[in-house]
């Protein structure tokens, strides 16, 4: 089930500059694991440890927040995931 994962600008150096990567899985977590299989540099960029995203990483599924328990959220064919970094400056 291909899902489109939108990669944040900061992370595109880990995806050969790709803005969108197709990934497969039944859940957000499975899709992110598939993303990491394709682009291993993404693992450290988004995961603090196994099954735990960095606190700064926000996940949106079909333009809606997937928080909390984002990794467990089911996905279907054609869904879109955005990986966004939280901002704190002013």
């Amino acid at each position: 089930m291909p899902v489109k994962v939108h990669i944040h600008l900061t992370h595109r150096r880990f995806t050969d500059g790709k803005e969108v990567v197709e990934a497969e899985g039944q859940t957000v977590g499975e899709c992110l694991n598939h993303l990491i299989q394709q682009f291993p540099g993404m693992e450290k960029a988004i995961f603090a440890k196994k099954d735990k995203l960095h606190n700064i990483v926000e996940v949106y599924l079909n333009h809606a927040s997937a928080h909390p328990n984002e990794l467990a959220k089911p996905v279907k064919d054609g869904d879109e995931i955005h990986l966004i970094l939280m901002l704190a400056g002013g």
Binding site: N55, V57, A64, H82, I84, A88, G89, G90
Partner: protein
């Protein structure tokens, strides 16, 4: 009532159908806190002062330094070393002497936040760190005062409007603490986001338009792209989850 001078000063915005003289009087009666007189606080304070918001309370504990001047447009070279709220108040009073500017040179803490936010109609987030944003968010919810969030980094920014107990708050999205950093930024980014926040405040005070409630607006200056994400209240939120 508006004075003849006020009618002239605000003539062009009174012409806006959704504002009119009644709207202008509402702005005149309004009291807004701006937490932070830096990159975001500068455009927010300038535009709310220009628009005729009757009282603006500006809070910041910092002094102006040379490295602020690429983005904090309320402060000029001659202000280096001065308290930011003093530097800002001087410019704002010169821009619009009809506005009451309260300049508060304090660090916002759990202990003083309730006092600092007392008696206002809106609280604008112009902070440069998350921990103070959460202090403001919690107090805004306790006092049931709308909170206008904005944040930036580099060419990126975001904004969201929070109506306590009704729409998602900043803490609803909380994932745990994030290390503080010396964030990169160019002045045009807080200019864009600060103006969006100021627009939200004006709309709220006048009761017009559609607010950015449950809508996180993301701005990417490099791609020249605005993207919107839906955010909903989190029943587990430790700030607003208990509010019915």
């Amino acid at each position: 009532m508006l004075t003849p001078d006020e009618r002239e000063r605000y003539d062009r915005q009174i012409l806006i159908e959704q504002i009119g003289p009644e709207g202008q009087e509402k702005l005149k009666r309004s009291r807004v806190v701006i937490a932070g007189a830096g990159g975001l606080g500068s455009p927010i304070a300038i535009y709310l002062t220009a628009a005729g918001v009757g009282m603006i309370r500006l809070i910041d504990h910092d002094r102006v330094s040379l490295s602020n001047l690429n983005r904090q447009i309320l402060h000029w070279e001659e202000d280096i070393g001065k308290k930011k709220v003093q530097s800002a108040a001087t410019k704002l009073r010169n821009l619009n002497p009809g506005i009451k500017i309260e300049a508060i040179d304090e660090t916002i803490t759990e202990a003083n936040v309730s006092h600092l936010l007392e008696g206002c109609d809106a609280i604008v987030d112009a902070m440069d760190n998350l921990s103070t944003r959460y202090i403001l968010n919690r107090c805004a919810i306790e006092k049931n005062i709308p909170f206008f969030h904005g944040a930036i980094r580099g060419f990126e920014g975001r904004a969201m409007t929070i109506l306590p107990g009704k729409t998602a708050c900043l803490r609803c999205m909380y994932r745990g603490s994030v290390p503080e950093e010396k964030f990169p930024v160019i002045g045009v980014t807080p200019a864009v986001i600060g103006c969006i926040q100021a627009t939200e405040v004006i709309k709220y005070l006048l009761g017009i338009g559609q607010l950015l409630t449950n809508r996180l607006l993301m701005y990417d200056g490099l791609e020249a792209l605005f993207t919107e994400f839906a955010v909903n209240r989190n029943p587990e939120c430790d700030h607003c989850g208990q509010i019915k």
